[in-house]
């Protein structure tokens, strides 16, 4: 086999809003008339659509879980939730759940990795109970005691644990980053929030409003007269502080991609801009609100395309040379648990 020279591949997203709208609305329709049962199959189709339309170097991703697997996983989790409602047994079930959470999170990550393939080869994840406990439970709890000032360390630990224990075929992912970029994302976001809050408060006359409220209250005026000003100020402060969220997300994603590599010398680049990310997210949300949610699929496709357009793989050689690895099969229970509990591990992918 001839080794090709290293090349930079842009990630390409080929999905379109029209096709996805049909899939999406059909999924909702069937989920409703089957009282939620179809949602397991719907999830599979959604994941398949987005995976198969994400292409690097002409090679597709794919998603391989079956609706039946997801459905059984969900049934087991719902069964578990019901045992939490049975007297006496529930104490044991509750203790069991607390102990099981790190393992459930591991299984959720592993299931999603194993069910995803690229160029015909599956991803993998091999975590440990201790690692999961430290990363997802102990460190976040400890950061509360530092008033979240050490939160960047938690964010880095989450990525080090999830990416560092992942693999593509037999090739291992590596994540190695100094703490600097994480603090940069965090401090820029916090800094923006504080400055924007103060500036907006002064510019919008927040102090006048408070003075008026106090004066009004002393004269027995009903403060309800000022309600629109109060709501207006609240909304303006919200809008001023909002960009902080996107500053954090964009810098975090870029930092994570820059610090990730795949065995064989393959590297990753993300150059998402906070301003564009914010523009897309907010206009997406407004479009969805004003169309009673009917533009959700369009918004989804639009965001996927934006992220793909700003993601690159710098391959050290041909992407032909990866080899698959035998894996221990993981059930869908962990995945169902994180789905039903709405757990988001905060991984910037």
């Amino acid at each position: 086999m001839i080794m090709t020279q290293g090349a930079t591949h842009k990630v390409v997203f080929t999905g379109d809003a029209k096709t996805y709208f049909g899939i999406w609305i059909k999924n909702i329709f069937l989920s409703i008339i089957t009282l939620g049962i179809y949602s397991a199959w719907a999830k599979v189709q959604r994941r398949k659509y987005f995976a198969q339309n994400t292409i690097i170097d002409g090679r597709r991703f794919d998603y391989h879980a079956t609706g039946k697997q997801i459905f059984i996983g969900r049934l087991i989790v719902i069964g578990g939730i019901i045992t939490l409602a049975i007297p006496i047994i529930n104490i044991l079930a509750f203790i069991g759940l607390i102990i099981a959470i790190p393992a459930l999170l591991n299984r959720s990550i592993a299931f999603n990795a194993q069910m995803t393939s690229f160029s015909g080869i599956r991803f993998g994840f091999k975590g440990t109970y201790g690692g999961s406990f430290l990363t997802f439970i102990l460190y976040p709890v400890l950061s509360v005691f530092t008033l979240y000032l050490t939160y960047p360390f938690v964010a880095r630990a989450v990525h080090r644990y999830t990416i560092g224990n992942s693999s593509y075929g037999t090739a291992k992912f590596n994540f190695d980053s100094p703490i600097g970029p994480f603090y940069k994302a965090f401090l820029l976001a916090i800094g923006w929030a504080i400055v924007a809050f103060i500036v907006a408060f002064i510019v919008l006359g927040g102090s006048h409003l408070i003075a008026a409220l106090i004066a009004g209250a002393q004269q027995g005026l009903n403060p309800a007269i000022l309600i629109f000003q109060i709501i207006g100020l609240y909304a303006a402060l919200f809008i001023a502080v909002l960009p902080a969220m996107f500053i954090y997300q964009a810098f975090l994603r870029n930092a994570v991609y820059a610090s990730t590599s795949l065995e064989g010398g393959h590297r990753f680049v993300s150059n998402v801009s906070p301003l564009q990310l914010m523009g897309i997210t907010i206009s997406n949300a407004l479009a969805c609100v004003f169309t009673l949610g009917l533009l959700v699929p369009w918004a989804h496709v639009r965001m996927s395309r934006y992220l793909a357009d700003h993601t690159y793989v710098i391959a050290a050689g041909s992407l032909d040379s990866f080899i698959s690895q035998e894996q221990v099969k993981v059930s869908a229970i962990g995945d169902a648990y994180t789905d039903l509990e709405g757990i988001d591990l905060g991984i910037a992918i």
């Binding site: 999905g15 096709t19 409703i32 339309n53 015909g120 409220l213 106090i214 027995g220 997210t281 949610g293």
Partner: protein, 356 residues
């Protein structure tokens, strides 16, 4: 081998179907993407690379395609063939993942009906379905869990804001007697039982609150303030008892959870910012529900107090006092916690009049 060829021949004779498409082949053990052709004769498929060199001969296990995705042909011997988008993969022999449901997702006037059906049912679920889900969840909630909530919350209160009561035993006995009279006028709670606790909590002033398992806490400040007005204490206690008997706190907790779950399970992941909007909106809605619950607790509380021989309208006097007090306090807390004290007083008076 000869048998296989014979079989292939007979099948070919039977179906006489043949064809060929271009695409890419993958072997399960490697990421190598091989430009290839797939030819078939009957049910036997032959995979060869761009130079015509044989890669594999076998049969198709599955020929799958989702809307907007490529034809993916799984061939025995761990081979996968991805048909090029500009080729037709439909005629490749072998089991196809029959998408009779996938017809529903095509752009067709039928899709418009599906959209309307979804909008109508989304409204129906929001309007009635959630109440139904909450009712089921409430009926499944075990006493142990709710009593646990009471114990934990009371302990947390004792650790932080509350101190032991400073009231003389005599005063407490009087209030307990009132409380005992009141709870005979209302059905037993679904979980736990009605229990009254006295606590000295200067930071929240004259106040009382209820936990879902029947624990009701009244502050020394309230009792000292209205020691001479038994009716006020009875009406306030009636109000708190009503919160417990109508399960208001758990209802609100479940409402917040169920709407979110319904949306993510049906519409899927709605994206970062919209998710926040839904959660914030949910919070605003639950504020609306909490006002509705307050009004309900006022009405039932008045009824309980009247039935036990007290003047239910005294509740209005309590809110008149709060109104006076808070006028002197800073403006923000006044606005945030009691947006319509005056309304409320009016309604309490008229309701008490009605049931007299």
């Amino acid at each position: 081998m000869p048998i296989l060829i014979l079989k292939a021949l007979t099948l070919a004779l039977r179906f006489n179907s043949t064809g060929r498409v271009k695409g890419h082949a993958f072997n399960a053990h490697s990421s190598r993407r091989i430009p290839a052709r797939l030819q078939w004769l009957g049910t036997i498929v032959r995979l060869e690379d761009a130079d015509g060199i044989l890669l594999h001969t076998g049969t198709v296990i599955q020929n799958e395609q989702i809307s907007g995705g490529p034809h993916l042909v799984h061939i025995d011997g761990d081979w996968l063939f991805e048909v090029s988008p500009d080729e037709n993969g439909k005629d490749i022999p072998g089991p196809q993942s029959v998408g009779y449901l996938s017809k529903l997702e095509q752009w067709h006037p039928r899709l418009f009906i599906i959209v309307i059906a979804c909008l109508i049912s989304a409204f129906a679920i929001w309007r009635w379905g959630i109440d139904f889900l909450i009712a089921i969840a409430l009926s499944l909630t075990p006493s142990l869990f709710v009593e646990g909530l009471d114990t934990v919350n009371l302990a947390a209160l004792d650790q932080t804001l509350a101190r032991e009561t400073q009231l003389p035993a005599e005063t407490r006995n009087h209030v307990q007697a009132t409380f005992a009279k009141l709870i005979t006028k209302v059905e037993a709670p679904q979980w736990g039982q009605y229990k009254l606790y006295f606590r000295d909590i200067p930071s929240i002033g004259p106040n009382a609150f209820a936990l879902p398992g029947g624990t009701i806490v009244i502050t020394d400040q309230l009792i000292k303030k209205f020691e001479t007005d038994k009716d006020i204490i009875a009406a306030v206690l009636g109000h708190e008892i009503a919160h417990v008997s109508k399960k208001h706190s758990l209802t609100q907790l479940y409402r917040a959870g169920s709407l979110y779950l319904l949306i993510t399970l049906t519409a899927g992941d709605v994206g970062p910012f919209l998710e926040d909007i839904i959660q914030e909106g949910n919070l605003l809605l639950s504020l609306g529900y909490s006002r509705h619950h307050e009004a309900e607790a006022d009405r039932i509380g008045i009824r309980i107090a009247q039935d036990a021989g007290y003047d239910g309208a005294a509740l209005a006097r309590f809110f008149e006092y709060i109104e006076q007090e808070e006028k002197q306090d800073d403006a923000f807390s006044w606005y945030a916690t009691h947006p319509s004290n005056l309304d409320r007083i009016k309604q309490i008076k008229s309701h008490a009049q009605q049931i007299k």
